[in-house]
């Protein structure tokens, strides 16, 4: 750490740090602690039972399935979009960037409603889907579609600035050295963005598993069939099973903590690979 001439007197510094820490403790750590305390209030047995009952297990399975489909699709889309935006110029580029951000600027409930309007019984494709016995709304496909919509920006947003900054010189170098398209992608482009990609995947995964609003609209809340973890928690809570609700909530809290730890590790790795100054001349 370099000492700056402009740095504040020690008392002011200590005060500012204290405010920041206090704020974090009050609004982040306390609720987190509350989740675990409440979850374990009726003992470890009740805690495990709440996680093991069939509806909870079904919710966990559905949540994992949703993430397992939504995250890889977003990785592919994110890479394609970031590549197109970062490495080429084409008409409509800015529009594409804006569109990618759309899910961020729309309330998740609205995102869910869009799908109901499209695929619901009274929706545009509703009659056709009903005639062919395809169920999307109030079924698993609807949940997955809504989750994909909500998580679209995560990977792409992470990669676009990275690829724009890196430019195309590395790819050109690989090209001139005789690499084919796939060799260039696997050996040069992907390694160059791997930490950014991993970061995007983690954020995307956390959101895919934790999404409530959009999924709530399209789910129909059929227990054991169309409830993901967040929806399951809501149901339990509304039925005054507070301990069980917090037990399941603690799973999502753990996911958040793991994501946070992994994120820190990735950031440390990224800075590590950029540091290490030149020694010899």
């Amino acid at each position: 750490m370099r000492e700056s001439r402009l740095s504040e007197p020690p008392a002011v510094r200590r005060f500012l740090i204290a405010v920041a820490v206090l704020f974090l403790a009050l609004f982040l750590l306390m609720p987190l602690a509350a989740v675990f305390t409440e979850a374990l209030r009726k003992g470890v047995g009740a805690y495990l039972a709440a996680l093991w009952e069939p509806d909870a297990r079904a919710a966990i399975r559905l949540t994992l399935l949703t993430a397992a489909i939504a995250v890889p699709l977003n990785v592919v889309f994110g890479l394609v979009a970031a590549w197109a935006i970062g490495k080429f110029d084409f008409p409509g580029k800015h529009l594409l960037i804006t569109l990618i951000d759309l899910p961020f600027s729309v309330s998740p409930v609205v995102s869910g409603l869009i799908y109901v309007l499209l695929f619901g019984l009274q929706g545009w494709f509703g009659p056709w889907l009903a005639a062919h016995h395809v169920k999307i709304i109030f079924a698993v496909p609807g949940i997955i579609l809504a989750t994909i919509f909500v998580t679209v920006p995560f990977v792409a947003r992470e990669l676009i600035p990275l690829m724009q900054a890196q430019g195309t010189e590395d790819e050109e170098a690989a090209r001139v050295l005789g690499a084919g398209g796939w060799q260039m992608f696997w050996r040069v482009t992907l390694p160059n963005v791997k930490w950014g990609l991993l970061y995007g995947v983690m954020l995307c995964n956390a959101r895919a598993m934790g999404e409530f609003g959009a999924v709530s609209v399209v789910s129909g809340h059929i227990r054991g069939q169309t409830t993901t973890l967040p929806l399951h928690i809501e149901i339990l809570y509304n039925e005054y099973h507070a301990a069980a609700a917090f037990a399941v909530a603690s799973l999502l809290a753990c996911l958040a903590l793991v994501t946070l730890a992994a994120k820190t590790l990735v950031e440390w790795k990224t800075s590590q690979s950029l540091r290490e100054p030149a020694h010899e001349h």
Binding site: E172, V176, G178, P191, S273, R275, E280
Partner: protein, 361 residues
């Protein structure tokens, strides 16, 4: 392998970066593409490499049309201005890259790759740093890794984009001499782009000067320096003093002085500009007889360096720069503010038409 480009035109969003450029590089030569930024020199290099597709014209390697060949199939070595080393690979892996991505039937064995990479690292004097990452190297070292990487695939042609542009002055000097030696050693046809006239004149066998997408002049370093074809080339290759005036009959009448006109410029009165390099001017206390000269006042003297640089103001208020050897300077005992006579030992006269047209080839 020889390179030839014929009538290349390349536009970017309506801006013509290259206008009908033709050029020949004989096998084994080291050629510099010299020009200010925006002159199209890098675009020309990238067209030769296949990294840009020309709108018109052809690129020939050994008299074979290579215009349609992709960068991948042209087998050229390209050294990028900012090296473009693969940051997640060690020096060894960077140099081995071109060998590793070859199709399986052409790919050398692991042992052969290792041997070749170590040979190349020895050539660029970086054997000890094989396991380092690019971020752990200095600029000059990175440059040499980039060169070794380009040479690994045994290219027929080596193309370098501002190879020393990002280095500090001292490393530059060393590296350019080293590049010259390396070229003499391996004899590969090489083209490098630079905006630094000293670099081009010192290193290259032949210099091609580009200006606004056109070739202004090409020739050996002596040729272009001693006989610049256009005022642009004269200005670009070194410091210069300008004198405006006109040609009438066999005389050039400039604002500061008159002299004999070069015979080939016609007999009518035409506007003209005379160019003289600072070292082609001399200073004396008395008006010398027989030589064109004019009166001026010494405005500034800089005696630090190989020559003494003197700035003078003419009677009409124009500024003239003169470079004198230290010996001559001491002998004259010049002082700031002194009124002296400037003698023109040699100069080059261009008519106004030539300067506005830029000469053009």
């Amino acid at each position: 392998m020889s390179i030839e480009v014929r009538h290349i035109t390349k536009r970017f969003d309506g801006f013509a970066a290259l206008k009908n450029v033709s050029l020949k590089v004989p096998a084994g030569e080291l050629v510099a593409l010299l020009g200010p930024s925006g002159s199209g020199k890098t675009t020309l290099l990238r067209v030769i490499a296949g990294l840009e597709v020309p709108d018109e014209g052809t690129v020939l390697f050994d008299a074979q049309d290579a215009t349609a060949r992709s960068a991948r199939d042209r087998r050229v070595g390209f050294v990028f201005q900012h090296y473009a080393l693969f940051r997640h690979m060690t020096v060894f892996e960077n140099v081995a890259f071109g060998l590793r991505v070859k199709p399986r039937r052409e790919r050398p064995s692991r042992a052969q790759i290792a041997k070749r990479v170590h040979e190349l690292l020895a050539l660029v004097q970086l054997e000890r740093l094989a396991e380092r990452y690019p971020s752990q190297l200095s600029g000059g070292q990175r440059q040499r890794v980039a060169l070794a990487r380009a040479l690994a695939v045994q290219p027929k042609v080596l193309l370098l984009d501002e190879p020393f542009g990002a280095l500090d002055a001292k490393v530059r000097q060393e590296l350019r001499r080293w590049l010259r030696r390396l070229h003499d050693e391996i004899g590969i046809t090489s083209v490098f782009v630079t905006h630094d006239q000293d670099e081009a004149l010192e290193v290259a066998d032949r210099v091609v000067i580009l200006h606004e997408g056109c070739v202004e002049q090409e020739g050996s370093p002596e040729e272009v320096y001693e006989h610049p074809a256009t005022p642009f080339v004269y200005r670009f290759l070194g410091n210069v003093n300008l004198f405006h005036g006109r040609i009438e009959g066999s005389k050039v009448h400039l604002r500061e002085f008159s002299a004999d006109a070069p015979a080939d410029l016609g007999q009518e009165a035409i506007p003209a500009v005379a160019y003289a390099r600072p070292h082609l001017l001399d200073i004396d206390h008395q008006p010398p007889s027989g030589r064109p000269h004019f009166r001026a006042t010494i405005a500034h003297i800089n005696a630090a360096g190989a020559v003494v640089k003197i700035e003078l103001t003419t009677d009409s208020g124009a500024i003239v720069n003169v470079e004198l050897p230290h010996e001559r300077y001491r002998q004259l005992q010049l002082r700031k503010g002194a009124v002296v006579f400037v003698t023109v030992k040699d100069m080059k006269v261009f008519t106004q038409a030539q300067s506005t047209l830029g000469g053009g080839i």
